[in-house]
Amino acid sequence: MSQVQIESEIPIKKHLATRTRLLRVKNQCIRFISMQKIGVISALFILLVIAVAILAPVIAPYDPVAQNREAFLSAPTMQHLMGTDDLGRDVFSRIIYGARISLLVGFATVIISIILGTIIGMISGFFGGIVDMVIQRIMDSIMAIPALILALFIAALLGPAVQNVIIALVIIEIPRFARIVRGEMMRIRETNYVEASRSVGANSLRIIMKHGLPNMMAPIIVMASLAFGQTIIAEASLSFLGIGTPPPNSSWGLMLSNASRYMESAPWLVFFPGLALSLLVLAFNLLGDALRDFLDPKLSS
């Protein structure tokens, strides 16, 4: 129905269509808030972490790399809420700054993977045939190596740096998005409305943009939320192994790696960074679940 309005050449109708769409988005948001309480709480928690990460210089009580020789390996006190590490650096401040790395790697990886994965998946699904076959063999080959092993291989080759972690994680995430988009694309290609637009002379690119993209938003959003959690864990794992974010940055994985040397004398060093990591991943997983229940009731139990 609404497609007729959007395709119209008359400006007023176009304006109306935009307004209807905005209204629909607003209604969807209201429905999500009333139906998915856990999802909303998770989203709020994620927003809070983003705010803390942005405002890190204001919130953090200490410089995250400032060493304090008076207080090293100090247990949590009022001055140091989560204690200090072996160089006397404040753990609380380092965790706040660590959120920046996790979120940066998470957002960069997920956004780049969505863009590249969508382009590859669309080409594959829309053209089919030999193009599809070649792309799929490559995607299958990437997915045939366990994700973390491939990430480890790429990150170790490229050397420890944040951008190399992102490159490694993008490579392992692309096939997952490409597969979803390809599947949706092949399904949509067969539908009546695409055939109808083709019969009125719309070209391939226009069909993809007008009918393909909007229909794929739901599965991509759900996948993105779940991939975000996995990406954050992967970044921490690589940093833990010493091939991710390089010191003296305060990445949570790096903090845990350092903490593992003081497990018995300073257990709080092991506890807090891991807790921060788990809570953020939990929030993304719960949000992903809630979005899936909301956007695609077929998939939920």
């Binding site: 063999r137 490559i138 299958d140 080959s141 990437i142 997915m143 045939a144 190596i145 366990p146 994700a147 973390l148 092993i149 990430a151 480890l152 291989f153 790429i154 170790a156 080759l157 490229l158 959690g229 864990i233 921490a236 794992s237 833990f240 192994l241 091939i243 845990l256 903490a259 593992s260 497990m263 018995e264 257990p267 092991v270 506890f271 891991g274 990591l277 788990s278 809570l279 991943v281 939990l282 997983n285 719960l286 679940d289 939920s300 139990s301």
Partner: protein, 315 residues
């Protein structure tokens, strides 16, 4: 069925070939090579560098090297380590059992925890216990397994004053020490896996419990226990098996970090050690073995479907 398996195996070989070629080319294309690493700080002359290159067979073109390696690989010869000179098959043979044992222990533990908990969650559908179990399982999915490893190590050391015995011993050499070394990392890997098994079992059992044939069985007067264990659970097994197939990749990836924390000499830590040393043949072979394991498990899972669910077998 036989034809299907053969077709899948041929396809698997193709995928492995693309994968190994990628690893082969990428490793040689990025900065840093094994010759420079080996002769670092020795002030070697240009001639010495070239001599070493010739000795290691790295002076040939990349295509010739790849051809040589692949020819060898098809005959079961994966080359020699560029550092120790030992045959790669021997090195892998030492490391692979550790990773296999760790993975198997985790899968068994995960099933033992996951399926019963999932069934309880489904049977007690929408009660307090169900909510509690669901929250716990999402939590289990979100905890990074290496953190769990550190927490367990710290906890056991502080509370029981116990740390796993140092110095790896195989199960055949010393089963008691071996299990003590393996149990904590296996638990860490099993927890995440069992969390997803719980979720999958719960939704699969629930779906079956609401289907028509279960109503028929109930109306015949079957006991609830029979309904759940004989019918609902059996019908849910397909999805649980699929899940395990899908999660094997995660499991194998997780072994890398846990082998490093618990100092286990497995295949994961082998890749980790040899990528930075640019020991090309060893990395190629390890990636190949990981890929092959992953593909074989998934093939096995697909064959298992037919065994569990005759509807798929016949179609």
């Amino acid at each position: 069925m036989g034809e299907y398996i053969v077709r899948r195996l041929i396809y698997g070989v193709l995928v492995l070939f693309i994968m190994v070629t990628f690893v082969f080319v990428v490793m040689r294309a990025v900065p840093g090579d094994v010759v420079t690493l080996q002769l670092a700080d020795s002030g070697a002359t240009e001639e010495q560098i070239q001599a070493l290159e010739t000795e290691l067979g790295l002076d040939k073109s990349m295509i010739a090297q790849l051809g040589d390696w692949l020819t060898g690989a098809f005959q079961g010869d994966l080359g020699n380590s560029l550092w120790s000179g030992l045959p790669v098959t021997e090195i892998i043979g030492d490391r692979l059992p550790v990773t296999l044992q760790l993975s198997l222990m985790s899968i068994v533990l995960a099933i033992l925890i996951g399926i019963p908990v999932g069934v309880i969650s489904a049977v007690k559908h929408n009660t307090f216990i169900d909510h509690l179990l669901r929250i716990t399982s999402v939590g289990g999915l979100s905890i990074p397994n290496f953190w769990l490893g550190l927490i367990l190590l710290t906890g056991f050391a502080l509370v029981f004053n116990w740390i796993p015995p140092l110095g790896y011993q195989s199960f055949i050499e010393n089963p008691v020490v071996n299990v003590q070394q393996m149990i904590l990392p296996a638990i860490c890997l099993a927890i995440t896996l069992s969390a997803s098994i719980v979720r999958m079992t719960r939704s699969a059992v629930l779906e079956v419990l609401h289907s028509d044939f279960i109503r028929t069985i109930r109306s015949k007067g079957a006991k609830e226990r029979v309904v759940i264990y004989k019918h609902a659970l059996r019908n849910s097994l397909v999805s649980v098996i699929t899940l395990i197939g899908l999660q094997v990749g995660y499991l194998l990836g997780g072994t890398v970090v846990l082998e490093s924390i618990f100092s286990l000499p497995g295949l994961g830590s082998l890749i980790f050690e040899t990528v930075s040393a640019r020991d090309y043949p060893v990395v190629q072979a390890s990636v190949l073995i990981f890929g092959a394991m992953f593909l074989l498990v998934n093939l096995f899972v697909d064959v298992m479907y037919g065994w569990v669910d005759p509807r798929i077998r016949n179609s």
